[in-house]
Symmetry: C2
Subunit: 405 residues, 2 copies
């Protein structure tokens, strides 16, 4: 379910069958807006609409916090995309991205009971995207950015976090990072290591690669070496973006500068976040009891059955193998927890708390093939929400005026 | 329910009681987004979300019309406001406008079964509003502009109609105009006149005044004299906006240039669309069997009991008197009909057809106190939708690819 390296598909040649189960499932769309009140009487209408509604409008004009309790907005997530990095399909545009955003909104509702509205944008300009989101923000309680290509996604998220006082969360970065950290905590425990013991090689320096690297460093992972399509990200390269230049400074204590295969020799963890395949030989060269997360979808960087010949723990992004790294474990509970306490932002501690909560769910059932809960485990979203809410309060970003669910 | 002349309220001093029925009714908001599918199984998730959804994305990239049938967008109305002319409250800003927009979205759902999302904007700049709506438009099937102050609303609607190929409709203008025309058709019939016989005086040259004047002229009303807060709109005035200059050319055959009281002498119809009161003497000076629509809310330009001493037919915007001119008679059915045939715009003929459909509902029950159906008459929205859809097809603005409801 993680969106990884974009690759522009030859869409004009892709065949499709409108009678197939997939198309039948999407017919008419996957969302509905309903009213929580019956408005078919004069009394109901005069309370919910004119003239009664004027009292609520005036109260909000006098005290804006009343909008948090007396409109729907404080529990609505906008799922926003420009369609530039959709699933593994690449830049397919806003209309073609809408089915994914609708699905994401449906997941917010089904897994956390939150309302969510998909908004696809007819622009790919960074400044226009930022301006548009700022202008529609008073309608929503939180902004979930989705499937926006790197490196644009970094600037868009950073600027929006500065400009808005509601949670802004780029799920392709931080949702993935939270679930990867949760899984890595449990994989380390099973193989008798601490996070500080781990030497990690990350394949991919897009949205997910950068965010995973950052959260793993924050969580105390010993050393990380990052590779992109041109090789190891290191200070000697002249072709680095801003974000990769920062990565080059914070990573690669071992000063690798050649190939990902070289970096993998003796490494504890392979974290695949790109479509680039990795050879069995490279996996075999890792440290004993290695950990392999091959998260490219639908084709992992190495087949999990092959990786299992050498690694002690193997995870993928696929639902048909053990240890599925699935963002749905994170984003519904993270927004629900943030909304429960009216958090003004999603802090690092809130993300770390979410990862710990996910890891803790399977603490008593931990095994090499059960390092993360199932996507459908009903304990996950409430546990994540509670941990995130507590971290928001501890970080001082909670508001008092929001109603409990 | 019509939004009329804005007057900025002293919001800071307005008292409110969170324990009152109005605030209880609005607690937590009035809308929810739900999913039409149960996603709590791997099979469902793999159809509605990854990997299945990729097939739908690619199909839309190859054939954009598939977005009309296989996402929710072609039956979703965005209700968009900048909060500058909310009800009679004036410029109260986006957050304070949200309860009204939520209510409007709830009415779309309850009266026409359409999904609708309220979007309030953190800008009042005309160019920024237009750019923002264009950029979010791929997410929606239609745009209902709401409570945007005149004359800005005219340019915003005109430009968006040019820029977008989905229905754009400023309800404060055209919803009001459609229901006024419906009511006036029946009032004329009851008093033994044709539309061409009527000499109408319109009080108010804001959004509703301009749109009502235009639709009445298109429908064949004999002559119309429009007054704003500075008196009669006529060619000799040096202070006219673009829109009012055009009105001055298309109206006022009798060449009035003094006061509204003078214009009302011998007139057939008074159409009040402002908060400015009108005297009993002025109403008494009208032609025999006069028609008085005093639509200011909550305080009509003249009390209907007083108007009834002199007029044959009296209508107001209030639900506690006969003949309520209520936009909810128009907008749900207009969008439903447009969506039913995938209309690319709302044409003049579609609005005229809506007015005729509303008027026809009460044809067999017509009386001086029953010139329009009740807001809750279940026949209205389906009849309006059918008439509007037929007019869209006749005007050649219908698309073929939209699914029926």
């Amino acid at each position: 379910m993680t969106s990884l390296a974009p690759a522009t598909a030859d869409t004009a040649l892709h065949p499709y069958d409108l009678a197939s189960p997939v198309f039948k499932a999407h017919e008419g769309g996957k969302l509905r807006v309903t009213s929580t009140m019956d408005l078919h009487s004069r009394d109901a209408l005069s309370l919910a609409y004119t003239p009664g509604v004027a009292d609520v409008c005036l109260a909000i004009a006098a005290d804006p916090t009343i909008a948090d309790t007396h409109t729907w907005r404080s529990r609505v997530v906008a799922v926003i995309s420009d369609g530039t990095a959709v699933l593994g399909l690449g830049d397919i545009g806003p209309a073609a991205a809408l089915p994914v955003m609708e699905g994401k909104s449906a997941l917010f509702q089904q897994f956390a009971g939150l309302s969510s509205v998909p908004i696809v944008l007819d622009t790919t300009d960074v400044e226009e995207i930022i301006a548009t989101v700022v202008r529609i923000a008073p309608s929503f309680g939180g902004i979930n950015l989705e499937d926006i290509s790197a490196p644009r996604c970094f600037e868009i998220e950073d600027r929006l976090r500065d400009l808005l006082d509601i949670p802004v969360f780029h799920d392709d970065q931080h949702g993935t990072a939270v679930v990867v950290l949760a899984a890595l905590r449990n994989a380390a425990k099973i193989t008798g290591r601490t996070l500080g013991d781990l030497r990690v090689v990350v394949s991919g320096a897009g949205a997910a690669g950068v965010a995973c690297t950052n959260i793993l460093l924050t969580a105390g992972v010993g050393d990380i070496c990052v590779a992109d399509s041109r090789g190891i990200v290191h200070l000697g390269r002249g072709d680095l973006t801003n974000v990769k230049s920062i990565l080059a400074k914070t990573t690669n204590k071992a000063a690798h500068s050649t190939t990902i295969e070289k970096a993998l020799e003796g490494a504890d963890v392979f974290l695949g976040l790109s479509a680039g395949a990795i050879s069995e030989e490279a996996i075999a060269s890792m440290a004993p009891n290695s950990i392999v997360f091959a998260l490219a979808n639908p084709v992992p960087e190495i087949h999990p059955d092959i990786a299992s010949r050498h690694a002690a723990v193997v995870a993928t992004g696929r639902s048909d193998f053990p240890n599925q790294i699935n963002n749905v474990l994170a984003f519904p509970g993270i927004f629900a927890g943030a909304f429960d306490v009216g958090a003004r932002s999603i802090t690092e501690n809130m993300k770390l708390a979410a990862a710990e909560a996910i890891a803790a769910i399977v603490a008593d059932e931990l095994s090499a093939t059960n390092i993360v809960p199932s996507a459908f485990d009903p304990r996950v979203a409430p546990a994540v929400a509670a941990a995130v809410a507590a971290a928001a309060v501890a970080d001082g970003v909670a508001r008092a005026s929001t109603l409990a669910r």
